[in-house]
């Protein structure tokens, strides 16, 4: 009898077990655009003590243009001080960079709602099934989020900010040729 109970318990555990990551990650997105120079942040930060005072950074990260309501926030409002390779929500919940849309969505609720519905931002995949999402950070620099057609990203298919060539003026190809042809024919 006892053996049956053990078996049942094992089965229940197997059924109840769900991989944690799948449950947390609601949208499948390509890897977040993290700079290899900095990430993982813990490379350096593991050995550094944390100064939680908001301030202008003068020694490191000076290349970051911070233009995102900077008078109201600073690094540790989004980056987690205890686990440097993560972000956190206002609630304190820690997040992977791959889930950063939840962080952006705290303030930009209307955009977050549209993004979830597939309206804000580029969507690929199938109209009748699986869709591929991009993170907010794939198109907007989180530190300076004003949209620019970025010259780099492979995921949006742009190579630069120059538009593709304009169309021909109708008839510009055939009409001169025809005129020339007529000239040659002695009309």
């Amino acid at each position: 009898m006892r053996r049956v109970w053990v078996l049942a318990a094992v089965c229940a555990c197997v059924v109840a077990w769900e991989p944690e990551t799948d449950a947390a990650q609601e949208f499948a997105v390509p890897p977040p655009p993290l700079s290899e120079d900095y990430y993982p942040c813990s490379q350096c930060h593991a050995d550094l003590s944390t100064d939680p005072t908001p301030r202008q950074l003068t020694d490191e990260h000076t290349d970051i243009v911070f233009d995102h309501a900077e008078q109201f926030r600073w690094c540790l409002d989004c980056h987690d001080a205890r686990d440097r390779d993560k972000l956190h929500l206002q609630s304190g919940e820690r997040l992977d960079f791959g889930e950063s849309y939840r962080l952006c969505g705290q303030c930009h609720g209307d955009k977050y709602r549209d993004w979830r519905a597939g309206i804000h931002g580029k969507r690929t995949g199938r109209w009748d099934g699986e869709k591929q999402y991009l993170l907010c950070a794939h198109c907007h620099d989180p530190h300076s989020p004003r949209y620019v057609l970025r010259a780099d990203p492979a995921w949006t298919g742009t190579s630069d900010r120059q538009p593709e060539p304009p169309p021909q003026v109708p008839g510009s190809q055939t009409l001169p040729a025809r005129r020339e042809g007529q000239g040659a024919g002695g009309h």
């Binding site: 549209d114 309206i119 109209w127 298919g157 304009p166 190809q173």
Partner: protein
């Protein structure tokens, strides 16, 4: 006089179109000039049609399933031979409970024309000579929506430009399509899933439909379209991106060869800013329905009652 001479010589040159043939018949000239062997063999070279079967092919809407299958096979062979690579011609039909619609976010479009050339590549549009673009990106000054004052030839170093906005226009797949009514030979019609399509083989090239379309949605092949074999998209649909010929009208089909397989049109995938949205109007959970329910949308020249299934919105 020189005109009719030219017609007679083109009979052998595989150049003549059905239109010329009809004209020739009227003049009583062609019947006399067709070489007897060509008639007897029903062989290649007759009036530019690769076979009698092609010449006598019915309107797509009237073909039996067997006739359709034969036509598709024949076209596949013809195109594969012409381009020296395997070309498939499908005719995937409409799905039940699907009505396609499109929406474009004017707040997002940056006028980069990536969609235009994504479309050119996908739909086998001509690369040389007289150009055909299904999508025309119009530039307007801020605060203006006067088509007469729009500019489609803008060419700055960088987009978007200050003081302007951009509005791409293509076939809007009207529910009440004037082009369909104008066609005297029923070479163009609306499919059950809402796509307005053309049977290129049946079109007589009269261009009545182009005159009827208020959106410049249709284009005419003034020349034999030139597509380098290496650039050909070999996955084609009979009513979509299969190679066309001189003298036919063509237009955006919402990429019928992709959309009927569940994929997004090529322009949706090409747009770097995600301004283009596509889906099923009958599915309450679709992106299109979300836009209609949550955004301010409009359609161009609504007062004409053409009922386009192409919506513009401000996201």
């Amino acid at each position: 006089m020189s005109e009719s001479k030219r017609q007679v010589t083109t009979v052998d040159a595989r150049q003549a179109s059905r239109r010329k043939f009809l004209k020739g018949l009227a003049a009583g000239a062609v019947a006399a000039s067709v070489p007897a062997p060509a008639l007897a063999q029903g062989g290649r070279g007759f009036l530019g049609y690769s076979s009698w079967a092609e010449y006598f092919q019915k309107n797509y809407l009237l073909m039996s399933p067997e006739e359709k299958a034969a036509a598709l096979r024949r076209l596949e062979e013809k195109y594969s031979a012409k381009y020296g690579r395997k070309v498939t011609v499908k005719d995937t039909g409409p799905r039940e409970d699907v009505l396609f619609a499109y929406a474009l976010d004017l707040n997002k479009c940056v006028g980069c024309r990536r969609c235009v050339y994504g479309c050119v590549r996908e739909n086998n549009l001509p690369r040389e000579g007289e150009q055909i673009h299904y999508i025309k990106v119009l530039r307007f000054e801020d605060g203006v929506m006067d088509f007469e004052r729009s500019d489609r030839y803008y060419d700055p170093k960088e987009v978007p430009e200050d003081g302007y906005y951009y509005m791409p226009v293509q076939c809007l797949h009207c529910r009440n399509a004037p082009c369909v009514k104008a066609c005297p030979v029923k070479a163009t019609w609306t499919e059950p899933d809402g796509l307005v399509v053309v049977d290129y083989n049946w079109c007589i090239g009269c261009r009545y439909c182009m005159a009827a379309c208020p959106y410049e949605g249709r284009n005419f092949n003034w020349q034999d379209p030139v597509i380098p074999s290496s650039e050909l998209n070999p996955e084609t649909h009979y009513l979509g991106n299969r190679p066309r010929m001189r003298g036919t009208v063509e237009k955006c089909t919402f990429c019928i060869q992709r959309s009927r397989e569940g994929r997004y049109p090529a322009c949706v995938e090409a747009c770097p800013v995600g301004a283009r949205k596509f889906g099923n109007l009958l599915d309450p959970k679709s992106e299109i329905r979300y836009i209609l329910e949550n955004k301010r949308v409009f359609r161009i020249k609504e007062e004409l009652l053409t009922e386009p299934k192409f919506f513009y919105f401000f996201g």
